[in-house]
C-alpha cells in the first residue's frame, strides 16, 4: 500500500484504488508487484495538495482478506500509541 499524512491536519491516510485517500487502512489499495507500487506511489505523489510524504509500506493480509499493518511503525501509525498516556495507579 501507499501511505502519507493528510496536509491540513496531518492524519495518517492510505491511497485507495479509486485514486483518493482514506483514513482507514481497510480502504487501502493493495499492490503486489514493484511496478504496481511505483504507479500507485506516482499517483499519490502527484497529489501534493492533499497529502505529504507518500511512501510505500508493507501490509499483512490475513485469512479472510483483512488488511493489517506490515511492521511496528505502520502498526503504530494505524492503531495509535502503544502507551497509556495517564499514569497507571501503582
Amino acid at each position: 500500500m501507499v501511505t502519507a499524512n493528510r496536509t491540513w491536519d496531518g492524519v495518517v491516510i492510505y491511497r485507495t484504488a479509486q485514486q483518493g485517500w482514506s483514513a482507514n487502512l481497510s480502504d487501502a489499495a493493495i499492490v503486489r508487484t514493484s511496478d504496481e507500487a511505483r504507479t500507485l506511489l506516482g499517483e499519490a505523489t502527484a497529489d501534493d495538495v492533499g497529502a505529504i510524504g507518500p511512501y510505500i509500506a508493507p501490509v499483512e493480509l490475513k485469512d479472510g482478506g483483512e488488511i493489517k499493518p506490515g511492521n511496528l511503525r505502520e502498526h503504530i501509525r494505524s492503531e495509535g500509541l502503544t502507551i497509556d498516556l495517564l499514569p497507571v495507579p501503582a
Binding site: I83, L85, P87
Partner: protein, 551 residues
Amino acid sequence: MYAYDELDRTLINERVSEFRDQVKRRLSGELTEDEFKMLRLQNGVYLQLHAYMFRVAIPYGTLSSKQLRALARVGRRYDRGYGHFTTRQNIQFNWIKLAELPDALADLAEVGIHAMQTSGNNMRNVTSDQWAGVAPGEVEDPRIWSEILRQHTTLHPEFSFLPRKFKIAITASEHDRAAIKVHDIGLRLYKNAEGETGFEVLVGGGLGRTPFIGKTIKPFVHGRDILSYVEAILRVYNQYGRRDNIYKARIKILVHELGIEKFAREVDEEWKQMGDVGLTLDHSVIEEVRSRFSYPAYEKLPHMPDELKQAAHDPLFERWRRNSVFPHKVQGYSIVTLSLKPVGAPPGDATSDQMDAVADLADRYSFGEIRVGHEQNLCLPHVAKRDLPQLWKALDRIGLATPNVNLVTDIIACPGLDYCSLANARSIPIAQELTRRFANHDTAELIGRLHINISGCINACGHHHVGHIGILGVEKNGEEFYQITIGGRADEGAQMGTLIGPAIPYAEVADVIEDIVEAYLALRDRPEELFVDAVKRLGVEPFKERVYATR
C-alpha cells in the same frame, strides 16, 4: 521574570500573520510541500508519525503563570489536552492540525511566546540553568546573557542559514545543570582572579550520531566581549563548516577535524581581524537587559519555620522534601522541583489541567513563576519554606509530587517510535516499565542518584550517551533492540557512557536494567557511592558479566 519590549512583540505578531498567509497558500496548493517545508520548520512545525508536531520555545526555561495557562489552552483547544516538555527547554504538542496552527501561534503570541528557531539550521533556543537567579552561590543570573545572545542571534541573517543547527547553553554555577559540555557552545560564567565577570568558552560538544564532549577554547572572555567572541566562532564555523554532508555539518565535527588548538587559533585570528564591529557590550546595554529581569519582593523569613518543623513528623512529606526541595539563595525560601515522572506515565508529559493547576500554585506560592529544566521536570523557583507542606498536598492532588527527583525513575526519554518518524524503536514504554519496576520509593532512595536516559534512535534526543545508564533503540531485522551504556554523565564532569555489550530485545530491557542496578547495590563500597562513581571505579566488566553471563 522577563519583560519583552515592543520590538519583540511586533516581531512575534508579524511572524504569526506571515505564517497564517503561508499556511493558507499551502492549503490552497499555491505552495508545494517542498516550498513550504522550510517555512513550517522555521515556525517549529515538524511532521511526525500521526500528525504535525509543534515545538514552542521557553527561553532559558522561564515561564509566567499566564504563559503556562496559554500553553495549557493550546493543549486543550488544538491538541489532545497535554504537552511534552523536552530536554531543551521547549514544549511539544503532538496532534496539532496545520489548518489551526496559525491560531495556536496567535494565542501564544498574546503572552509573548513563539516557536522561532526551534528547528532548522539556525541558532536554537539559548538554554540555561533552570535555577538561574535563585541558586545559592551563583555568580550572577545567567539568563541576562542568554537574553543578550538571543536578541543578537534571533533572525540574524548570518545565523539563519548556518551549515547546521546551533545550540548554546549557559550556566553560572559550579554545578552544571544546563549540560553545557554537550552543546555546540557552552558558556560558564565566573569571576576571575581580578574579580571581573566573564566566561569560560567551550565548543564542539554534542550528542547524536557522533558524540563529543565540548572542549575549552578560551579560559576567560570578558562579559562585554562575549557577543563578538561568539560571532568569531560562528564566522569560522560558517566559513569551514561542511555543508556538503549533513552528518558532518555540526561544529563538533569541524572542531574534531581541525583539532581544538587550531580551531582556537582560527577563532582568535578572526576575532582580532573583526576589530570593533560594534559588538562590544556597553555597560548600559547589559544593565538594560538586567533591568528587564524582575525578582520577587522576598520577605524576611526564618530559616526553619514552625510549619516545616511540624510537617517533618510526616514521613511522606519528609521523603518528598528530601527529594524535591532544594536550597534557595534567599533565607526562608526553597526551590521546588515538580516531578513529571509519575510511575507508569510518559516522562515529561503534562496535561493541560495539570499546567493550569501548576499556574495557580505558582501564583499562590512562587510569585507567579515556573521554570522548565532539561531533565523534563518543572520547578517553582521561589517557595517560602512555611508554604512547603501546603504546596506538597496540593501537588500530590494533581499527581506532581512523586518523590523521585534524580532517582532511578526520574527518566529522560524522547518520544521514540510512538510518535517520531525517525525512530528505530520505542522509548516511552521502556521508561514506563522501568518506573513500574522501581515503583517502590524506598528502594529507589536506597539506590540513590541514578539517571536513566532513553533515545529511540541515534539522534539522541533523549541524551542516552550521557545517562548514568543510557538506552538506545536500534533495529535488528525489523525488531526493536536496545544498546545499553553505563557511566555517562551530563554535568561538569560530562562523559559518554560505555557500551556494555550486544543489543538486547525489547522484552528484556527492564530485566537487564534491574540486573545492572542489583550488581551495583552488591558492588558499591558504601551506600554513598553513586552508581556512576561505582562504574568509574570498577569499569564496565562486572556489570557486563552480570548481564550477559546468564543470557
